[in-house]
Amino acid sequence: MGEPVIKVRGLRKSYGSVEAVRDIDLEVAAGEVFAFLGPNGAGKTTTVEILEGYRQRDAGEVSVLGVDPAHPTREWRERIGLVLQDMRVEPLLTVREVLELYAGYYRRPRSVEETIALVGLTDKADERVGRLSGGQQRRVDVALALIGDPDLVFLDEPTTGFDPSARRGAWEVISGLRALGKSIFLTTHYMDEAQHLADRVAIIVGGRIVAEGPPSELGGERGRLAQIRFRAQDGLRAADLPSGLGRGPVEGDGWVRIASDAVVADLHALTGWALERGVDLPGLEVERPRLEDVYLDLTAEPEREAVEA
């Protein structure tokens, strides 16, 4: 792995007496999909806008593609694609006209037609942007972010306001970006989105990073362990099971649960045991930890602290 595409050390930003960002460190590797989560007012937008070159920081070191975004250069802008909430294009131009205009701003743009096809707007190419649906306009945004063939793409809540099928469509486009080798910095409110798309997640609350890591490892033990469970019945009690399964079986609510950080090995041992005994494991399933629970835990705690302080 080469130089990280984004490197942040000790980032700080205040508005008057309000500390929006308090000493943040971040690192995003090349080719990685990085999700940045946090409730509104947590310092998420401030951080992202500093990385994008729209806002100046008070303190800390920031490097994005090797450049300090406080002093954006034309070459740097060539390598960055942006899909932001509060960005629009002129509604009076057609999809193709907008993309042709923007393609001219870059030295090595992607093909306009290919890019329109990539976001699935080929049959809307000659429609004025203002006449497209919200989801289609968002796809124009994605196409514009890609037209310069950037190395790094910022996606700010790319699916907010989408219906479920439009969200699936957007996820496919984003997965496609990863396949193109782009590094992606994603902000989102949706935990399933981060879980589905991101290699790594950082959660910001009250201007501080409270957790960082792969979605499956967030939230310490509770976030990492999967639950293997099946219905408890005679001969299938926690006490009947062989030893050495996960963290040991626990019984309750009519279920036997095994917390496991090695699901494949533990399932193998469990099902092997059941086959040997010639018994079924009714209702057998594996529950992955949900990022949403981890997130709710993490974002709730500092607020409580703040109230007590």
Binding site: Y15, T45, E52, G53, Y54, R74, E75, R77, E78, I80, L82, L84, D86, M87, R88, V89, E90, L92, L93, E97, L101, Y102, G104, Y105, Y106, R107, L144, G148
Partner: protein
């Protein structure tokens, strides 16, 4: 692409947007033409001493031309840039490699071009409908006046957009400045009979000097090349102030996002 080629592309883009924007087309281009036809048409046979005893209908031609210049430059940029800023269009532009200076230059060049076309249309209408023409010898004065005024009013419009909080407020902010200036500067009727303090106030602002400069061009007694340096100079000074304020206060990102 070279800076010149990029600039040409931007101007073509602005022109395309103008042609498709019926509201802007109506208010900044059609309305001055309608004013000219109505005002000058109802004012036949009256005379105005101020511009060398010309007919009142002849007075209206340069007056409405001033209105056209102000609306295609100052109002167009102040209101248009506010709309684009609040809609996030400027933020999007700012995120591309296109140098900001070329984007702004594209807007300014397109607006100056529109001002020239509109002035040409108005003067041609004045000549065809009312037989009022610009003496050939003052043509340099006309061209210089329109060029300096259009450029200066663009700078002021860009600066003023920074003071307008939202798209909804833009028409009110624009008209609050422009309408009083039209009246005290003699765009709609001559203010030569007005008291001295009235003239003193009007003389502070660039619209009055633009009117004076245009009347000077139309005055049949004006000698070649018809350049009223004093008036043109004051307009240019206002433009310089506008440019300085624009560089200091202009913003690319929506206000509502803080």
């Amino acid at each position: 692409m070279s800076a010149a080629a990029l600039l040409l592309r931007q101007v073509a883009y602005e022109r395309k947007l103008l042609v498709r924007n019926s509201a802007v087309l109506f208010f900044s281009i059609l309305l001055p033409i309608i004013f000219l036809v109505i005002f000058a048409g109802t004012a036949k046979d009256s005379r105005v001493a101020e511009a060398g005893g010309i007919e009142l209908s002849a007075y209206y031609v340069p007056g409405i031309a001033v209105l056209g210049i102000v609306s295609t430059t100052f109002l167009n940029l102040a209101m248009g840039l506010t709309r684009q800023r609040e809609a996030g269009i400027l933020k999007r532009m700012r995120g591309t490699p296109l140098p900001s200076s070329i984007y702004i230059a594209g807007r300014v060049v397109a607006a100056i071009g529109t001002a020239f076309v509109l002035v040409a249309v108005l003067l041609t209408l004045g000549w065809v409908l009312y037989g009022i023409d610009v003496p050939g010898r003052t043509l340099p004065g006309l061209v210089l006046t329109v060029a300096v005024a259009a450029a200066s009013l663009c700078c002021l419009g860009i600066a003023y957009s920074a003071a307008i909080p939202s798209e909804d407020a833009a028409p009110a902010f624009g008209n609050a400045v422009v309408l009083p200036l039209y009246f005290i500067s003699g765009v709609f009727f001559s203010t030569e009979g007005a008291p001295g303090w009235f003239q003193t106030i009007a003389d502070i602002f660039p619209v009055r000097h633009l009117v004076q400069s245009m009347l000077n061009v139309y005055n049949p007694h004006t000698a070649a090349p018809g350049i009223a340096w004093g008036h043109v100079g004051i307009i240019a000074a206002w433009g310089t102030v506008g440019a300085v304020l624009a560089l200091r206060f202009f913003r690319w990102t929506p206000r509502r996002s803080g």
